[in-house]
Symmetry: C2
Subunit: 321 residues, 2 copies
């Protein structure tokens, strides 16, 4: 992570340089507010590191990186409305601080602002960039819809779940990386490999999120351990548990969904998960996707192949919060 702190600063600085007007205040104040929330800026950094990997000029890739970051912020503002989330990055969400209408509209403007950044990319790369970006943007919306649909369902299959996290979060990582490759005009094979690297890394990260929600040391970041269990959320943990449980365990898991005592609900559910070795099974799936990602990385053919991207993803895979 230390490696990329210079890039975080670069992105943060570029976001500050965006021309955000003052008026109408109710439209633009939320946008300035949201863009200035601290974040890891993983997506735009992936674009920059990808351009670096393919011997490109970082400044060349700046606008594409910003497009991905701004688009990501748009999805967060709208997702927060849909999820009725009160906080984002420790601060009130836009619909909480202002209202839902303002959050809808300022989200819309952010999406257009993402396309403004795309339009600033070199014209020769534009058709390829826009085509990838559009496809990805639609997939992200499909993933969000699947996620909402899953909330109202009792059962979700393993493959459906992986497909949902792939669309909702992973394809944007693949897109961020492939945009760097497109800008450097590298081979189609390299484009595909780096895209697949991103998608598989993304799936591994998301599975890690599921695991850490229950098995992480949440105190570090003040997060509620077992939050997904409390919210009766379908995760890879719960899907493994339900698939492998015997009748007694299954009936107990179902009963626990209605348990009012939060601590009891989490500890009893966790016990059953432990009996079923859910954690190690999920870890295995996560590792499989991580390995798959690394194979795609290995298949990339480029001069002076540096390890900055691998160092970043490796650091992210090692987090325990």
């Amino acid at each position: 992570m230390i490696l990329s702190s210079q890039y975080i600063d670069l992105i943060q600085e570029e976001l500050k340089q965006l021309h955000i007007p003052d008026s109408p205040d109710n439209l633009y104040a939320p946008i300035s507010y949201f863009l200035n929330l601290k974040g890891k800026k993983i997506r735009p950094i992936l674009t920059l590191l990808s351009a670096e990997l393919f011997n490109g000029n970082i400044n060349h890739a700046k606008h594409a990186a910003l497009a991905v970051e701004i688009f990501h912020n748009f999805t967060l503002i709208h997702d927060d409305i849909m999820d009725e989330a009160p906080l984002r990055r420790g601060k009130p969400t836009v619909h909480e601080k202002w209202n839902t209408n303002i959050a809808i509209l300022s989200g819309d403007v952010l999406m257009i602002k993402a396309y403004e950044q795309l339009a600033l990319c070199p014209p020769s790369a534009l058709p390829g960039l826009i085509s990838l970006f559009n496809r990805t943007a639609i997939e992200v919306c499909e993933g969000q819809q699947m996620d909402m649909d899953f909330e109202t369902r009792d059962q979700v299959a393993h493959d459906e779940y992986i497909q949902m996290i792939k669309l909702k979060t992973s394809v944007l990582l693949g897109c961020a990386l492939e945009m760097g490759a497109i800008l450097c005009n590298t081979s189609l094979k390299n484009r595909t490999e780096i895209y697949q690297f991103g998608v598989n890394i993304g799936i591994a990260f998301q599975i890690q999120d599921d695991i850490l929600d229950l098995y992480g040391t949440g105190e570090k970041v003040g997060k509620q351990v077992g939050g997904d269990i409390l919210a009766n959320k379908n995760t890879l943990l719960s899907i493994f548990a339900e698939t492998n449980a015997n009748e007694v365990q299954l009936s107990e898991l179902k009963k626990l969904k209605f348990e009012k005592n939060a601590a009891l609900k989490i500890s009893r559910t966790k016990s059953i998960f432990d009996e079923l070795e859910v954690k190690s099974k999920c870890n295995q799936v996560m590792q499989d996707y991580y390995q798959k990602a690394l194979h795609h990385f290995d298949a990339i053919q480029t001069e002076n192949k540096n390890t900055a991207l691998l160092d970043l993803t490796d650091a992210l895979m090692k987090r325990d919060f």
Copy 2:
């Protein structure tokens, strides 16, 4: 209007040909539903007629026309949420038929689908098209925010109001027309003239809407006559009335905002509007913008200048519903 019925069919047919997937159903069913609602399709027709005016190939302009129409539909879905509108084109709005979250997300996808159509335009025209489209899209959002802001204000000035309708509705007409011009690679002067033609026509249309809301024969289309007065909406009529009213009239107008009897509220407000000759004053402003539009049209320099565009706008200016 008869002139352009072939174009309505063309656009309707093209919308049907769009690849709208089946799944996730909650995301795509609202999109198919909304795109199939009957509408006048004025914006995409403007793009086609503009391309025709500049001796372009209609098929060449098809994707740009669809981009404008799809973008317009996106704004309608999101505006309907914000305005809590129950009906659109006589049918339930998306947030009513499904729910708000689905309306937000399917609107988002429609916006991306507009950019998908843009991306299908000839690469040489793409930078110009995207730049105009982005600027316009943001202006439309600004106009919607101003409109929402005006709802909570007692007073709105004439110029602010014109600025709001210009941004919310007129710039998209200008954009639709200029896109046709860009695709035909005409002069910058022609681009500006046709854009200004569209913007001024748009302002005239919107003022006409305000007038017809009270002075039109609403029964024809089953619309509530005086709906704007009932909703205490700021319109050019109310702005003229409040600017010109004497103290007695002004105090009566203010009292009428709290009148519960709908028929009485409309008839008494209308009486004061009539005393102040509000209708003819608004008509005058509308005519001024219409004339301004025609001057811009006259300034366009092109071979075989046909009148299809003028015939369309003329027909629209003559509607009395």
